[in-house]
Symmetry: C2
Subunit: 539 residues, 2 copies
Amino acid sequence: MATKTTSDPITFTTSDERIAELLETLREIADLGALGSLAGWDQETAMPPGAAEVRGSQLAALEGLIHERAVAQRLGVLIGELTEAMAPPISATASAGASSPASAEADATAYTDADRGLVRHARRDYERATKLPKGLVQEIAKAQATSFDAWRKARANNDFASFAPSLGRMVTLQREVADRYGYKESRYDALLDIYEPGLTTSRVDTLFKRVREISVAVLQRIRRSGHIVDASCLTGEFPVERQVALCERVLRDMGYDFARGGIAQSPHPFTSSFGSPFDVRVTIRPDEKFLQAAVMAAAHEGGHAVYEQGSDPVLARTPLAGGASLGAHESQSRLWENAIGRSEPYWRAQFAAVREVFPEQYKNVEPETFARALNAVAPSLIRVEADEVTYNLHIIIRFELEKAIINGDVAIESLPRLWNEKYKEYLGIESPTDSDGVLQDIHWSHGGFGYFPTYTLGNLYSAQIYAALRRDFPDFDERLARGDRLFALDWLRARMYRVGAIYEPEELIERVTGEKPNPVYFERYLNEKFARVYDLPPA
Amino acid sequence: MATKTTSDPITFTTSDERIAELLETLREIADLGALGSLAGWDQETAMPPGAAEVRGSQLAALEGLIHERAVAQRLGVLIGELTEAMAPPISATASAGASSPASAEADATAYTDADRGLVRHARRDYERATKLPKGLVQEIAKAQATSFDAWRKARANNDFASFAPSLGRMVTLQREVADRYGYKESRYDALLDIYEPGLTTSRVDTLFKRVREISVAVLQRIRRSGHIVDASCLTGEFPVERQVALCERVLRDMGYDFARGGIAQSPHPFTSSFGSPFDVRVTIRPDEKFLQAAVMAAAHEGGHAVYEQGSDPVLARTPLAGGASLGAHESQSRLWENAIGRSEPYWRAQFAAVREVFPEQYKNVEPETFARALNAVAPSLIRVEADEVTYNLHIIIRFELEKAIINGDVAIESLPRLWNEKYKEYLGIESPTDSDGVLQDIHWSHGGFGYFPTYTLGNLYSAQIYAALRRDFPDFDERLARGDRLFALDWLRARMYRVGAIYEPEELIERVTGEKPNPVYFERYLNEKFARVYDLPPA
């Protein structure tokens, strides 16, 4: 199968007015949801601390209204009818009845891909909303607040034991969520599916085994070479405002549209949409002593953002606007951050902007030196600061631990010990504190089990899409080095971004790259890239 | 009647559970309304232009939900029952029935001032929401969008004729609104009452006649004196960021709480609350060449904001949190901007901050020179740039014209001519263009007839409150000159801010100052202040 340029117009059918009714309902939910996202954005970027409690009431009021709409009986009926209407007849005889087999088939084929995607999302969301009783949802919300607070304090005091009861409670609640949602093989599957539709434990097991082998092999080659990358040019004095100006330049140059976006600062960088593709904003957090943090966050969040901004406007105000899944999303943040944004050809063109903003710091630094510094590899304790080679090992450790916790194979109390053992085994390092160990991530504190694997999935998808891009543009590096990045954006928009969440992630990857998801591209990417960066002898 | 320090705790009764039910309903409406305000704030401070349409959908969805709640039958029943329960029995015999006269009276007196204020606001809002048919509300919203656009273009092209049809439409619609709301004497009364509860045309007529005499008299004294105030120290080069830092300092020094607020930039300065007293933010718009704009906007918006931040937390998430009316609100912005913020004693202390931020510009300028420059009087065409002496003449012109339009006494087409005649008569100047004449304000373009008078009302209230403050603090000027401003804030909080909108504006002024609203304080204020600023001979 070749890569598919979806240049056909994206439309919803007008031949079934139930689609119009469904759209109207989902648009209202999307509009209200967007206001909730805006409130969340404000919370991270501008809200004063004194407003925390009253904002909580406001969001609760809004979420209550959204929930009412999300579980409305009429919505369930609509989804049921449309699902049935879209199904192909089982056989000529089975479908006989009110309509003839021929016309039933004609009906089912009258729906567009967008219609089908819409109903699939609507069904999924409706089932999610109706499967959890209100009492459980409220209990989770309350437990999250307590647990987040306990985690924050435990991390500050390096005191895992004080967090363990809250964590245990989150595990219990998420097990109940999994049971309510249902699963075929493993309870943990139900949680994986929340973040990446269709993902299963067995699939992750297989993939991650391979990723671990790939990562460890590259790491060993680098170690054996004894080569060192000098990253000292990334540290120094970088006034915040000038970093913001540089990040704006990086975003603009990669095709991010400020007329439908904006940039702000927050404790952790993130991207948020209040109506894709029309309003997609990013945040950064400049570090005055370390340029890499803000610049690479800009490229990373920019990747998420150009994906959201690329949705066809027809999809606006529906669950189909934006990314297909967290994995698909992460594939784009990683593509722009790592595959493009940490490549030497890219910096050959983009480095002029760095020199313009920080002339004193970079007058004697070459673009190649800067690009190489951004790719220094060193096993470290902190996931969010990890390089491309070791990053996925951090994820694999978390996956293995949370799978075991959810499936009941290990006790909460064993987590710090198991964490340290795995860091020792996979990365060859040990954390002197639990604060920089098992307590470092926020995810588990709010019950986000099943989320971590999507990061690595994104890296795998990213490598595969990147390979397809390079295949279609044999002069890829020359274009980047000339300062052209929009050819890549146009290609991604045409094949991937514009269809939003119409297709399930695995189908989407196949449509974009011409092949089912395959980790071999990640293996090649990592080997080739770091052989170059570290000047490695052949494996 | 002496000024009343309302140090009694503010409470809602727990003896009637209908109050609790009313509170619950109004809190949900307030919470949703706060999210709408947040979206409005975002629109002015951060939203990208490409998001305008999708934001329109989001706000429409939210407003639809708020409206549903605002007209709910149960709410109407609650308000009706509570209104009746709060009324004193007409006579012993008339109230006989289910309850004895004695207990009926006991019931009515069991309600607190907050209960009564709550029911008064709820009733007013409910009547407003139910009196306008949905079709009219939608028609107004649509006409506003068109009219705003027409006004913007007409002003850019100095072409009143192109705006006249839209303006005519807004007048027709507002007349219908007035008729639906109802009034006793004049149709325009119904519109005045929207912005200032209880205000009537005849009351404004009387007040404004006096204000005009006062203003013209002071203006003539200044003219006759031939004295000139040199305001050149306010112009120069003032980098925006340093202006923002100075404005933050001004706000902090006047007691504005950044832990429950924040500052941003927008095309026009404004204050917005997303849950008073917990989240009240201000905007400024620095002018690189003219320091006065941002600094005095900070003091003005700061006045609005400390008023909102001063509401008793018990009132949070109800219609009673925040100001009693637009006039009461403007009294506080004017008090902090003009009475305090343009006084010489204030700048004797605050000028150090100006010198610190702009050392080169102000090393040779004295605080007295700076303060005097802020009070230069000169009749000018633009209301928002007017000094304290001429400002109200701008308002009176608008009042006279809009009253005549709404009551049908003049044709839309005559407005430019009448505008210019009045400017000639009241201020002795004529606008060379309609853009700087009848087209200068946004208010009429969205049908905001009846709003302008609240600005002058605020100035009158401000002078009266200021007089009461000075009466209670004989060393007022010395305190200001020492850098103390919090004594004034504390006084205002205790007497005025904490009770929010519990009392109607005229009653509030009486409670705060010990006297019914009286324009004599404004006359004294203006005369004394400008005799000092312009070194005038006795009148």
